[in-house]
């Protein structure tokens, strides 16, 4: 059985965040509370503007919160006025990818250990080579990111995060820009990497199908201000593959919160239209 992670518990208690873009203060997240167990694959699904990225950025340490507290393994990492420096214990995989375009795949993956000083340049490179091979990505070490397809780039980025053995993996809609078929195969890659060494995963998405296929627990967020509206426990067991997408259980799960998600989507769609116009 794959080792169960003993670390990476995220405590989100009564978290609220108010943005103040030139005076019109916007309540992005309103009193959210959730306890994420170590090694749990937690998915947040909601329309754009429901505060899911705000939560992720707060955990990652890119900004503070207005009230409440976020802790990692009991230690506070984000409170009003304080946010711990971003670090290799909680690594973000960004929506449109953030592989350094100017360095090769190998140097990208080896970047973390090298700058943290946990390994010399050559040691880090060999370690990176081994991880890439294990994830089925050997042979592209000296390519530049722009020479790879979006599917491959995303896998390298996940490898770049995993090599640092983070407590928490934060994924911000990593498969959004992909066409559905590449997305399906990339999701399977993430699941298999997750099964390899269990980590706490905080995954945010617009796509309900993706949330159920990947997550142990799915939290549905309301349109702005973001509140946790519904929670759905998904127990398909692991490892999973694309077959479950057409299983009966998958469909019942989907229909349970389909309505809840759609309501928020329609409200956001109308709000979006007004807000932008």
């Amino acid at each position: 059985m794959t080792p169960v992670a003993a670390r990476g518990a995220i405590g989100i208690r009564n978290v609220s965040k108010i943005y103040d873009p030139d005076g019109a203060n916007v309540l992005a997240v309103d009193d959210c509370s959730v306890e994420i167990a170590p090694g749990e694959f937690c998915v947040i699904v909601g329309p754009s503007g429901c505060g899911k990225t705000t939560l992720l950025n707060a955990i990652a340490g890119f900004h503070d919160i207005t009230s409440g507290e976020i802790s990692l393994d009991g230690k506070p990492i984000c409170t009003p006025g304080f946010s711990a420096e971003p670090g290799a214990d909680r690594i973000v995989v960004f929506q449109n990818g953030a592989l350094f375009p100017w360095s090769t795949v190998l140097n990208n993956v080896a970047y973390g250990p090298v700058v943290q000083g946990t390994a010399s340049n050559t040691e880090a490179k060999t370690e990176a080579q081994a991880l890439l091979a294990e994830l089925g990505l050997s042979g592209i070490g000296d390519h530049y990111p722009n020479e790879l397809s979006s599917g491959m780039r995303r896998r390298v980025e996940i490898a770049r995060a995993l090599i640092n053995d983070p407590k928490v993996l934060l994924l911000d809609e990593p498969f959004r820009a992909m066409d559905a078929l590449t997305k399906g195969v990339a999701q399977e890659f993430l699941l298999q990497a997750y099964d390899r060494v269990r980590k706490t995963v905080f995954f945010i998405t617009h796509d309900l199908e993706e949330a159920i296929f990947l997550g142990d627990r799915v939290l549905v967020m309301t349109t702005r201000p973001g509140r946790i509206k519904r929670t759905l426990h998904v127990d398909f067991g692991r490892p999973r593959n694309y077959k479950i997408r057409s299983s009966k259980q998958y469909l019942t799960l989907k229909s349970q919160i389909f309505e809840a998600v759609r309501e928020e989507a329609v409200r956001a769609f109308e709000a979006g239209e007004r807000e932008l116009a």
């Binding site: 020479e147 790879l148 491959m152 399906g184 057409s246 928020e264 989507a265 329609v266 932008l276 116009a277």
Partner: protein
């Protein structure tokens, strides 16, 4: 496959072949690709990324000529672009310097076969119909993704094309906006006698919209399976959780997943960039 009532064939495509490059770098994108489109039906084409879907769209629209094979619209061979076969592209192709209203009236205006006030009246009605009436003087950059798509649909529909071709029009929209846009598009389609050729790579979207589903193989692309989707119309979101829908999804998933893995594995950009390089030559 149940025999469909004999409908007039709107468009026939016979043994299309298209390749790029030269010598060792010859990339065959389409190979003996044949299919037919019936009029006033929504035919959806689905296939993995890089299987030649967009090239096929360009040939049907008349932007590119095939190396072999032919395309006939109502019996007459197709040559060059025309308002009979209009394309709605993947990313928006609204003219950024024209307001929504100017975009919509552009087609009839340049065809010069209708008086201006008549054209403007039609445009107002259509904009009302797609819910963009009070955005008519806005520029495309001031519209949301969903609104841009609706404006583009209006810009095509006003010309009453014999065939409307949509090349993954909802790609790039987030999953939720996409579902709502699909319902919106169906409302528009089911309200008019319009033949549509809809290209996508989303299985759920394909089955939800299609009367007939064509599945394309990996490169070089050809039609490897045809499924007649006779789900009731008008189609609503609740359909997404019905068993027949699930059956169709299973059937196409089986074929597509194999193709997707091949496309994914071959995922290196080197070949794609070569095609791009070739395209620059003849611009």
């Amino acid at each position: 496959m149940a025999s469909m009532p004999a409908r007039r064939a709107l468009l026939e495509v016979k043994d299309l072949a298209k390749g790029f490059g030269f010598g060792p770098l010859r990339q065959q994108v389409l190979e003996n690709c044949s299919f037919g489109l019936q009029s006033e039906r929504l035919t959806v084409l689905i296939g993995p990324s890089g299987c030649g879907k967009s090239t096929l769209v360009n040939i049907l629209a008349g932007y590119e000529a095939p190396d072999a094979g032919e395309v006939r619209l109502l019996g007459t061979p197709v040559a060059g672009p025309s308002a009979e076969r209009l394309v709605v592209f993947q990313e928006t192709a609204l003219f950024p310097w024209m307001t929504t209203f100017q975009n919509v009236i552009y087609g009839p205006l340049v065809q010069r076969d209708m008086r201006r006030d008549e054209i403007e009246a039609n445009a107002i009605v259509l904009l009302e119909h797609v819910g963009l009436k009070d955005f008519k003087d806005k520029y495309p950059s001031q519209l949301s993704g969903g609104m841009q798509r609706r404006a583009e649909l209006a810009r095509a529909i006003i010309n009453n094309p014999k065939l409307m071709i949509l090349d993954e029009p909802f790609r790039g929209l987030d999953a939720m906006t996409r579902e709502l846009m699909q319902e919106y598009f169906l409302k528009l389609y089911e309200g008019r006698k319009q033949s549509v050729f809809f290209v996508t790579s989303e299985i759920e979207e394909a089955i939800f919209l299609a009367d007939q589903l064509l599945i394309m193989s990996n490169r070089p692309g050809q039609i490897i399976k045809t499924i007649d989707v006779d789900l009731p119309r008008p189609r609503t979101a609740s359909l997404l959780t019905s068993t027949e829908y699930l059956r169709y999804k299973d059937e196409s998933l089986e074929v597509l997943h194999g193709e997707a893995v091949k496309a994914f594995a071959e995922g290196s950009k080197a070949a794609a960039d070569f095609l791009e390089a070739y395209a620059d030559q003849n611009r």
